[in-house]
Amino acid sequence: MAKIRTATILTALIKRDLSVAMRQRSDLLNPIIFLLVVITLFPLGVGPEPEILGRIAPGVIWVSALLSALLGLERLFRDDFRDGALEQMLLLPVATEWAIVGKIFVHWLLSAAPLLILAPLLALLLNLPQEAWFTLWMTLLLGTPVLSSVGAIGVALTVSLNKGGALLSLLLLPLLVPLLIFATAAIETAASGLPALGPLAFMGAILVLTTTLSPFAVHAALRVSVN
């Protein structure tokens, strides 16, 4: 019975957050615009040689995924903090960690889903060798939840401050570097025709680790921030 309750509350929370996001559709577009600009920028900057483009493609796609996740991150708790919805969340009759999982999921859905859909297009535009496409997609699938859940910790820590995104990214990017390294390693291995299971397994481990631990860290951080 208690289990079912948790599920109801969680779906209610997710549904609400999704409809809030859908009302402010323009905010949804910001990360996508950013992605598109980045992807157009590099061929322009580097010149059209397909070979070089292909080499930098994994890095460029991943760095932009990282940065565009950052763009939407602030909104994760900030608006809720300002209008009091965050305290109500802490008062929900479920373990707050579940509610946090819900919020992280919504952020992931809004920021990563477009990326996962656009990934083949980006790979094509940037001339990534075809062998690596699937691996790229896998790294994004495994890695973007990590971006959202680690990012949530940073936002939770800074939500009561009115600091710009700079502080947030200063806190977060160092934590995310391992992910970036494994992801690009995997794609590069795949591009050279080898199986990339090793780095992908590492990413899976990171994924499991962060998604299970981060709700607790976020909860601790929120309790510090909301007072």
Partner: protein, 256 residues
């Protein structure tokens, strides 16, 4: 654990302990460090490949090792602060962070200076170098987050959470040379210590190096202890014992 920690939850007890410990770190620290440096710079033989430029090792390696060690120490303090809500542990985070940041900076700087003759470049985006740079950013992040809060306790708690999470970077720094085949050489010394075998480095170079490592540890610890005591005094300034401490009415160690 709690029973052991509990007495030091009282700032005054920590302060007294620190006062007793400080001379045991500061005095030997300065002596050991001086001996190690002079030994390393003046008496150890020149390297047959690198000539004299290898002598940077005597600052580079200790700084690099302890930049990581102090981060772990800071994370442990953070854990204690978060789990047991002990204020002294919160202040310990703040006492360690700047010292650690300086150590990290020294290792980066000496590494870069050493890299020029060795690899022909100041900076290379090699995994070890980059992860060490990230350690520097982490230290800065902890300090920046603390400074960003108006309320010190909130700031210390937030910084503590970040410090704890940042620990993931430490194994990355250490194993980066194994995971990626890059410029930076693999650990000979740490490996030797952990595997109890003779390191592949000449004894005449090893001993001054070990002396320097010990010296760095002692001196940095002394700095941390001093900073921690300052912090305690600053926060407890209104308490009678701190007043007495400052005005110096009671004899040293008179009451505890």
């Amino acid at each position: 654990m709690w029973r052991w920690l509990h007495p030091y939850a009282k700032p005054e007890a920590t302060f007294r302990l620190n006062q007793k410990l400080l001379p045991w770190f500061a005095v030997p620290g300065i002596i050991v460090l001086a001996v190690g440096i002079i030994w390393g710079l003046a008496f150890a033989p020149a390297d047959y490949q690198q000539g004299d430029s290898y002598r940077i090792i005597f600052t580079h390696v200790p700084a690099a090792m302890w930049s990581m060690g102090f981060y772990v120490g800071m994370a442990i303090a953070a854990l204690i602060a978060i789990v047991w809500q002990i204020r002294t542990a919160e202040w310990a985070i703040l006492a360690i962070a700047p010292v650690g940041a300086v150590l990290t900076f020294i290792s980066l700087f000496t590494g870069a200076v050493w890299g020029k003759p060795m690899w022909g470049t100041w900076w290379e985006w090699d995994a070890r170098l980059t992860s060490q740079l990230i350690l520097f950013f982490l230290y800065l992040g902890v300090l920046a987050l603390y400074a960003a809060f108006e309320d010190e306790r909130t700031g210390a708690k937030a910084a503590g959470i970040l410090a704890l999470i940042g620990v993931v970077n430490i194994p990355i720094i250490h194993y980066s040379v194994y995971w990626w085949n890059t410029l930076h050489q693999q650990s000979t010394i740490t490996q030797a210590i952990t595997r109890l075998e003779r390191p592949s480095i000449a004894d005449e170079m090893l001993w001054p190096l070990l002396t320097c490592i010990l010296g760095f540890l002692l001196v940095s610890s002394a700095l941390v202890i001093m900073r921690l005591n300052n912090e305690i005094l600053k926060r407890e300034i209104r308490r009678p014992w701190a007043q007495q401490e400052l005005t110096g009415h009671t004899a040293e160690g008179g009451q505890s």
